[in-house]
């Protein structure tokens, strides 16, 4: 039996219902795309092996929304700790995107960054690398990835060029050099870059030897004995903070005093624990890295916000990690402002056309090439003075003159 008033769906009803259901299902995506603030997942190794650097980046990220708001940008941050673990980096990036993140920033460590890149590529969410130097990151053809950081080759290339500038500025020549590096992922990649770039850089002194060491070693007495036997005037180093401490301590113990210890682009010599462990012995070491441009108003704003938020930490020490993390978030915020939407492909297109002249770190405008690499980052020569990183070259960003050769270990106070 059929009732006359029984509802019989027509084609129009079905189409209308389907459209309504589609609109309902698409609503979160539409709302997300039209959000007023860009939701950025900041994925960092805040615990585990890379915790110290991750924390330093995090301190920069925490103050970023306020500084960006003053500059007319609007961002909302989701902080994710990937525990220095690739598995966690991948699943947590998935989670952050599932919970509405429209852009991802990270991740300090190259393996984790690659794991995140695959997720971002599949989800069409821009990944802006704050720090990670493995060249392959921008050589793999990822469309949703850009890197506002130097590759290993760029770090070493810039580092060597600045050694020449330093010699010219101080009129102190070096007769020879030794390269000492940690035998980890970063150190080995720097060694490869050094082997390739040193001959091409036509340095005015020979590289006597490259000496690798295990960063987990209890001391570096054997390595320092080797260096001492070669009697180099310049020691080029690629270290992490704990082994940088061991290296300098063993040099002091063995009374080995080169004219300079220079890092052509690595951490270690400017970490807070390095200053605390070595006191006056931490002074006068040099490192050639992109550094906060104290003359930039954006740097000044970030430094002021940082000092208020983190009174027990020093921006001068943290500015490398904090600055690059800030800039990565800024790139996303700027693209969002220009694109007017957080829709993945549109936002990524805007990220690719970034052109930010006023930013934190030394170098030209933030721009990306077709592979997503920013090639405008310039390193500066930074020297530890009174346990504070101080830019000494190039002159346009320097706040003090370089001291070379470094004073003897004895008599420092």
């Amino acid at each position: 039996m059929r009732s006359d008033n029984h509802f019989r769906p027509s084609r129009r009803h079905v189409l209308g219902g389907a459209a309504a259901a589609g609109a309902m299902l698409a609503a979160p995506a539409v709302v997300r795309a039209q959000a007023k603030a860009l939701k950025v997942a900041v994925v960092l190794p805040r615990s585990g092996l890379f915790a110290a650097a991750g924390q330093s980046c995090y301190r920069g990220a925490v103050v970023t929304p306020k500084v960006l708001a003053d500059l007319g940008y609007s961002v909302e941050l989701v902080h994710v700790d990937f525990e220095s673990n690739v598995d966690v980096a991948r699943t947590q990036t998935e989670r952050a995107i599932a919970e509405g993140a429209q852009c991802v920033v990270g991740a300090f460590e190259s393996g984790a960054t690659l794991a995140m890149a695959q997720v971002c590529e599949q989800r069409q969410v821009p990944l802006i690398i704050n720090i990670a130097s493995v060249p392959q990151l921008t050589e793999q053809g990822y469309k949703y990835l850009v890197r506002n950081f130097l590759t290993n080759a760029q770090l070493v290339g810039n580092g060597l060029r600045l050694v020449k500038d330093l010699m010219a500025a101080t009129s102190v020549p070096f007769k020879n050099a030794v390269f000492v590096h940690a035998n980890d992922t970063f150190g080995t990649a720097q060694r490869a870059a050094m082997d390739r770039l040193f001959p091409a850089a036509e340095m005015p002194f020979p590289l006597l030897e490259s000496i690798a060491y295990d960063p987990k070693a209890q001391d570096l007495a054997v390595e320092v004995t080797k260096i001492r036997a070669l009697a180099p005037e310049l020691v080029l180093v690629t270290t992490r903070s704990s082994d940088a401490i061991k290296l300098v301590r063993d040099m002091v113990r063995q009374r080995f005093e080169p004219k300079a210890i220079i890092s052509p682009g690595s951490p270690g010599l400017y970490d807070e624990e390095f200053y605390q462990a070595l006191g006056p012995l931490a002074d006068f070491h040099l490192y050639n890295l992109p550094w906060a441009n104290a003359k930039s108003p954006v740097t000044q704003a970030l430094a002021a916000a940082y000092k208020t938020a983190h009174p027990t930490n020093r921006f001068e020490v943290d500015c490398f990690n904090a600055g690059f993390t800030f800039e990565a978030i800024m790139v996303g915020a700027d693209a969002f402002k220009r694109a007017g939407t957080a829709d993945g492909p549109t936002l990524m297109a805007a990220v690719k056309t970034t052109n930010i002249a006023e930013h934190v770190l030394t170098g030209g405008p933030i721009k990306f090439d077709e592979k997503g690499q920013n090639n405008n980052i310039q390193a500066a020569v930074v020297q530890n003075r009174n346990r504070t990183p101080t830019v000494v070259l190039p002159p346009d960003v320097a706040v003090a003159a370089p001291v070379l050769p470094m004073p003897p270990w004895q008599g420092r106070s």
Binding site: A51, T91, L114, T185
Partner: protein, 333 residues
């Protein structure tokens, strides 16, 4: 398979069938995040089961099982990157290399009577010197890592393990299911009984005429081969390999936590362990975030405390206790 099924009562069979069905249809309702977590769980079920054969059944403690994951991953990735040999073919040399290392460790250990913690130290030593060795092998990128290129034109080529998250989920599911079945099969085989006899009392096993050396070596060979296949999965899932990450002692511990928590020497122990530990980690991340606990490492502390509690309450593992409580196993006369 039949013996595994026959070991369970009706309730147990229903629970297992339901769990299998749920896992099969999970992608229909799960978000990509949940799917990625499930993939990780199934991967740990697989490698945990491989370790369980060696430790849980044969009683040989290996604390360097990451060695085989690393070897499997590196061999298959290097064959793909340098010679274009796909992972379905590359898995055979990967397994062969891992088995050769396993045989070397086993031969050294069993031939010279290195047992217990000393055998465990031997496995750690092999993993460590392999890590250091790979740091210096330029052919596979040294310490700088080996990268499997992301090639857009290969996306979706499941035969080259270039599939989507869904593909890797089902691959992990197939691996985990196969590992469970193989374990069940081996546990009821002549070899399985020999392993259990050796585990319980090696001298008595020898007195019964069991070729202890051969049986233990078989355990190492099967376990290392299986783990190497897990390494191939890892390499093509993450697309990057670093010696410091892959051969690390922490990785080895991560692999064996599942079976230990779930219950070693049982077929379902590694499954239950993996289904407890991986989600626990994810849940603790969410909980600490929602509670506003912004201390990095807080999750690790909670994780450790939870593990301690589990091990204190059920020292023989969760699965034996759970199956008893839920009455899942068939009662033997």
């Amino acid at each position: 398979m039949i013996s595994l099924w026959g070991d369970m009562n009706r309730r147990g069979q229903v629970v297992v069938a339901l769990a299998l069905l749920l896992l099969l249809v999970a992608p229909l309702g799960a978000t990509r995040y949940v799917l990625s977590v499930l993939t990780l769980i199934l991967y740990f079920v697989y490698v945990g089961q491989a370790w369980n054969l060696m430790m849980g059944y044969a009683g040989q403690l290996s604390l360097g099982h990451a060695l085989y994951v690393g070897l499997g991953g590196y061999v298959s990735a290097a064959l793909w990157v340098h010679f274009g040999i796909g992972p379905w073919l590359g898995v055979f040399p990967a397994v062969a290399v891992a088995a050769a290392f396993g045989a070397a460790i086993g031969w050294l250990g069993f031939r010279f009577g290195i047992e217990g913690v000393y055998f465990a130290l031997l496995t750690i030593a092999f993993a460590e010197f392999t890590r250091i060795g790979f740091d210096h092998i330029g052919f596979v990128g040294g310490a700088g890592g080996l990268f499997i290129p992301y090639e857009e034109q290969r996306l979706g080529q499941w035969w080259n393990l270039r599939g989507s998250q869904l593909f890797f989920y089902y691959l992990a599911f197939a691996l985990a299911a196969a590992a469970v079945l193989l374990t069940a099969l081996l546990a009821r085989s002549r070899l399985g009984y020999q392993w259990i006899a050796i585990r319980e009392d090696e001298t008595a096993a020898r007195a019964l005429g069991i070729d202890v050396f051969r049986a233990k070596l078989k355990a190492v060979l099967i376990s290392s081969s299986m783990t190497a296949i897990g390494g191939v999965f890892y390499a093509f899932y993450y697309n990057s390999l670093f010696p410091a990450q892959l051969f690390d002692m922490g990785r080895s511990i991560e692999l064996i936590l599942g079976p230990i928590v779930g219950g070693t020497g049982t077929v379902f122990g590694p499954v239950v362990g993996a289904f407890i530990l991986t989600p626990l980690g994810e849940i603790l991340i969410s909980v600490t975030e929602h509670l506003g606990i912004n201390a990095p490492g807080a999750k690790a502390v909670f994780f450790g405390l939870t593990l301690m509690t589990i091990i204190y309450l059920v020292p023989t593992g969760v699965w034996p206790w759970l199956s008893r409580k839920l009455g899942l196993a068939r009662r033997r006369p």
